[in-house]
Symmetry: C2
Subunit: 277 residues, 2 copies
Amino acid sequence: METVSENACFGGVQGVYKHASDACNCDMTFGLFLPEEAKDGPVPVLWYLSGLTCTHENAMTKAGAQGWAAEQGIALVFPDTSPRGEGVADDDAFDMGQGAGFYVNATQDPWAKHFRMWDYVGEELPALVAKEFAVDASRQGITGHSMGGHGALTLAMGLPGRYRSVSAFAPICHPTASDWGRKQLGGYLGDDEAVWAAHDATLLMRESGFDGPILTDTGTKDQFYKLLNTHDFAHAVGERGQQANLRLQPGYDHSYFFVSTFMEDHVSFHAEALYAG
Amino acid sequence: METVSENACFGGVQGVYKHASDACNCDMTFGLFLPEEAKDGPVPVLWYLSGLTCTHENAMTKAGAQGWAAEQGIALVFPDTSPRGEGVADDDAFDMGQGAGFYVNATQDPWAKHFRMWDYVGEELPALVAKEFAVDASRQGITGHSMGGHGALTLAMGLPGRYRSVSAFAPICHPTASDWGRKQLGGYLGDDEAVWAAHDATLLMRESGFDGPILTDTGTKDQFYKLLNTHDFAHAVGERGQQANLRLQPGYDHSYFFVSTFMEDHVSFHAEALYAG
């Protein structure tokens, strides 16, 4: 693992690190914020998964998360959204290929060789972070934005016991039923829609739910609102009687101005779960 | 004036606007955050001047200022750092020309035609903002980063009575005595160093000081520390007995990770002055 940069930030350190990923079969870069408390021992950790077109850097510089994480004494991890590099397959569209990994393990060509973001974010990177940094793997929460909200919800429900809390900003909630989803799931996983179900938050909510609290925020003026299927997830949450706080925020759109506005609430929400018991 | 974009943000609106500037003789773009309170009447306003290479956008997306401004009910203005466009002179160096206006009125060719950032930030844009938006021109504060910290300090001392409070992040404090300064002041203003004095915070502090409180933060690991001449400004503040809080922050560098860390303090500092009396 190589240190790309480290900057003092809110009493802690905002680092960027690069490592050879087995899951993705290429070099991967991630951001990690460690609060001051990490000097004294392992701290809880909150994962932030980004949306389409983002790298590890967008949320790290624009979400305003570090101040709240510092206040709560928790670490933040900002993974990339896909494998990258010259030898890695890509697509001219912004919503497929590099920058658009969709948090699945691709089984179809040309993606299968590198696009294994489920294993990367769910297994390989957590192991690396726990080994190299003072984070407490027994206290993990996960959040994300848009495609990253989809990733957060599906990982949280798909890996029971791993995360104590899950939240999301404008998550893609029902990708098997929208253009942000059918295209990517078909491209990465093939035509058998039964396989897609493991990567659809609404279907997972109907099937199993999440053993812990959920918080979501979505703007009523989100320019991609019709692609998110917020209503389907809300319906499934209601049917299950899942512990959840699903918020629709008047006037907000899909931007980081929206994300940063509600970041304090999300970090506080996770901190409460991560410090309980 | 043309609206480029408006995003809901912390209960208010983060806008970007474009207008034909008389001072700069070209179109100029600026960011403006209006808190919710602006719906009910004019609010105090804090100017944020950016550093070398920045546009109106950097601080608007990376400084984490809107949340604190919303909490205090004050507006934020993010001007660009220079005139821009095809017909505007430029230089291959990052620290001259477009993105490097240095907050002076250039008198030398090829700069004199457009590079009048002192008039633009000190006169034209305040008049436009006061005319078009619910801001209270009698309650203005100013801050900035690096070259923008230089701009904030020199405008504050150069326009007595205009700003109630001034602060700066890693300001260039004594440009007539460093490479970040002599090059730009010579290029824009010519060889007569007597003319430069109006654009040097240390010389202005020796000469006249500021009728109000000053706050500055500078990181002890700032990679440009030797170009800032923090010690000269501190010496002048001490000699004058100027009301000031000059802070050196251990471990911090020149980045927005540093700026965002101390943004809450700066916004609170200005709010106290802007709401007094």
